[in-house]
Amino acid sequence: MNFHIWATSAINIISTHELSSVMTVVACWLVLAIACLVRPHSIRYVARFLFPLGALACVAMSCLAAAILLSGQSPEVATLALGLPDLPFHVRLDALSAFFLMLLGLAGAGISTFAAGYFRSGEGTAPGLLGLQYHVFLASMAVVMLADDAYLFMVAWETMALTSYFLVTSQHRIPEIRRAGFLYLLMAHLGAVCILLSFGVMQGGSWQFTFDAMRNATLTPFWATAAFTLALLGFGAKAGLVPMHVWLPEAHPAAPSPVSAMMSGLMLKTAVYGLLRIAFDLLHVQFWQWGVVLLVLGLFSGLFGAIFAAVQTDMKRLLAYSSIENVGLIFTAIGLSILFAASHMPLYGALALAAALIHALNHSLFKSMLFLATGSVLHATRQRSLGKLGGLIRFMPWVATLALIGTLAIAGLPPLNGFVSEWLLLQAFLSTPQLPHAFVNMLIPLGAAALALTVALAAYVMVKFYGVIFLGQPREASLKEAHDANWLERIGLCWLAVGCVVIGVQPQLALKAAGRATGMLLGQAVAPPPSIWRIAPISSEQASYSGSIFLAVILSVVAITFLAVRLVAHGRVRRTAAWDCGYPWQNSRMQDTAEGFGQPIRHMFDSFFKMERDLPLPTDIRPRYRIHIEDRFWSALYQPVAAVVQRLADAISFLQGGRLAFYLLSSFLTLLALLVLVLWQ
């Protein structure tokens, strides 16, 4: 009882100063960023001392955000004494921001702890600079979630894009990494332009760029749809929605693993946040057609990502494609939510939106964790090609065990967290026949089927990922010297694994947190859990699920079976060689390769890929099998556009003569022309 009073008073103290406390944490990150420059070449100082402090700030952030969500405070706004004269920065802390800040803090704490043990000297950029970029990146993501006007939002958004660009290119001496970084920067800026235009449309002629003004602006259906489409393009490019996904499989593998984890786990979620903010909060979900567009794009991205992930041979590329798949699932859920909300079915809308939010949270946990695990594998073996790994469960038991939890979670298996969000999403799909649009009703079951296929394919992909890296025999002799992760890395991985398990067995916690955000956006939360053991988002009769009972029953049956077998079976355990079918010359190269494991998928979905295959001839002395798989979007969409841009650039390249006088003259003439235009109007 005392504890209860103490906890409530603590929450009260925090909640009265919630916004300033959150801003203090953001300021802490910025201070840490500057502090990194004091001794930029000292790994001990930057990594072992400052990064754990950053992780503590992350924990503080997640606790603050969780307290705000639990207490259910009304939104708090403030105007900062920063920014341009007459154009100050506005910040606002409401349930949606709090949910995403909690996500940022939870996953960020694990990643920062891992990063503290991960960074070694002599790998690309000096550690001090990395630390600076890393912490500014964290702070800018938090500011994106707090911004309450388009100006601050865009400043933070661009800071985020730039710091992450520098982090991606930290090993800039490698040409592929420079190229990946450039592609990323290009797509980030195209996206930013779209978002900027979207804000431009939404201010609706009032020239007020605060979100409050946009909330109250009345737009015609055409302009509202235009704003939505621009936002979708902009945030879709950041999130990696197909067909704006091309940068993602290039940039994520190029970055150091903690940075990949940050980008995939956290930065993609800022795009989800932005879309939710614009579609639900600023544009008030007006048309169900928006939902259908999102649904189709999301489902296609999901399927596309899963299929491509299945044929990858680089472990980080595989995870990057799996991120596309997960983003697809999140966007599917958002689309479904818009569809329901615009058809005046707020309960189902809240269900789908809760699925989207919880999946975003889950993905930030398990995907960061898997990226971090690949980082440990990379450091231990110096290999990232799946074809040169294998059997690491025997040399890296910690990483292997923790990665198994992440693998099962991302494969959407009960009782872990990935299943919870997929279950909620499928439940939302089951409610679609009550929609008032007959034609959509007929098609949506197919969407549910595509979703089920995607989820099942994800399990295939993750079995490949885990099996090829950690199980089987080592494919290279050098793998036997692989060492396990150090203790800071283990703590980081453990933190994320615990998150996966806790949300899996206590989904009502996540559902309650998400309920605040859906309550703010749709005025409706899902049905409260009937007991502390299980969730039943619509009604108890229709569907209920309990992760804790699930886990408890499985564990107790395993224990009982184990004891019973102990009593019954008296046979000894004898270690022998594996059965070799009477062919004693088997070696580790005869296991399935990553290509081999993906072969059925390649066979079934071959229209998705552009494949080049070199098959060995019977007469080859050194036979080699090589397969190169390319994304059809490259040749169908990007290369033509790039060619047109190149041609246009060539056509006007005479302007770039290198003479300063000419540049000044042309700037002056442009200015003059603009002035004339303004005066004439």
Binding site: L430, L453, A459, Y460, V463, T561
Partner: protein, 320 residues
Amino acid sequence: MRGIAFVWQFGEVVLAIALAPLFAGWIGQCRAWMQNRSSPPLTQQYRMLRKLFNKDVALADNASRLFRTAPYVLFASMVLAAAIIPSVVTDLPFARAADAIALIGLFATARVFQALAAMDIGTSFGTMGARREMMVGFLAEPALFMVFFNAFLLFGSTALTSLVDNYATHPSVIDPSVIFAGIAFVMVLLAENARIPIDNPATHLELTMIHEAMVLEYSARHLALVEWASSVKLFNYACIGIALFLPWGIAIHGANIRAVLIALAVLVVKLAFCGAGLALIESLSAKLRIFRAPEFLAMAFLIAVLGLLVHLLLGANTSA
């Protein structure tokens, strides 16, 4: 929650564990009769389990802990599945913990563990079996989901117990979509339980096997658990089919002991018929090439979707 419900719950789980090898044996016997062979006794499966439990375990040198844990997880998953499926009574306390979608997830968990364990030793058969099993799994899962979607549209619940309850309290006229769903379900059942035409449970021919390839490295008590788990899985699938398509006679909420005994007798009769039916299908069909398996499962999926569309179209007509 009444105490008696826990008794039913416990009894049903024990029943599934105990009867599952018998059911597998019954199918084997029917197959032997239909193929004009002399059949092994009905209790053959039990004898095999006893033999396996008494043997020494021959474990590969490089087997990790995952390999040794997987049979237990597999068995536990199937036991939990048996606890959720209303085979005799619907008054099951654990059924609230997981609905049909969670059941699909549970089967997926078991499948993933089995595939991972198969990859652990690193022999080419193990990985090949794992890859094929995962392929069959990811195609069968959407089809199964569509079947449950169909049932949901008819009876408004994804919890199997509520489905049966709702069916008993509102016995509607037979909807044509049920027939489609039923066909799709049987096809999924055949694929998921390694039966002909996808896999042959009796084969040890390397190039055709899926399930047997995965368990090649298991021996003694581990193999016994894996085999037992797969017979419980088959039993579970049969019971899901009965609950969805032939739910007459299952003791619904608040039933007394007499009703439960009748339900038990009815279940045994239904299982005997289902087993004979499965044996008939298996005797009549030939094993497909592995590359044809996707077509088979895509067909199951399309049939289920067709059922769904039929239901929606008819529903639209009646309401209009």
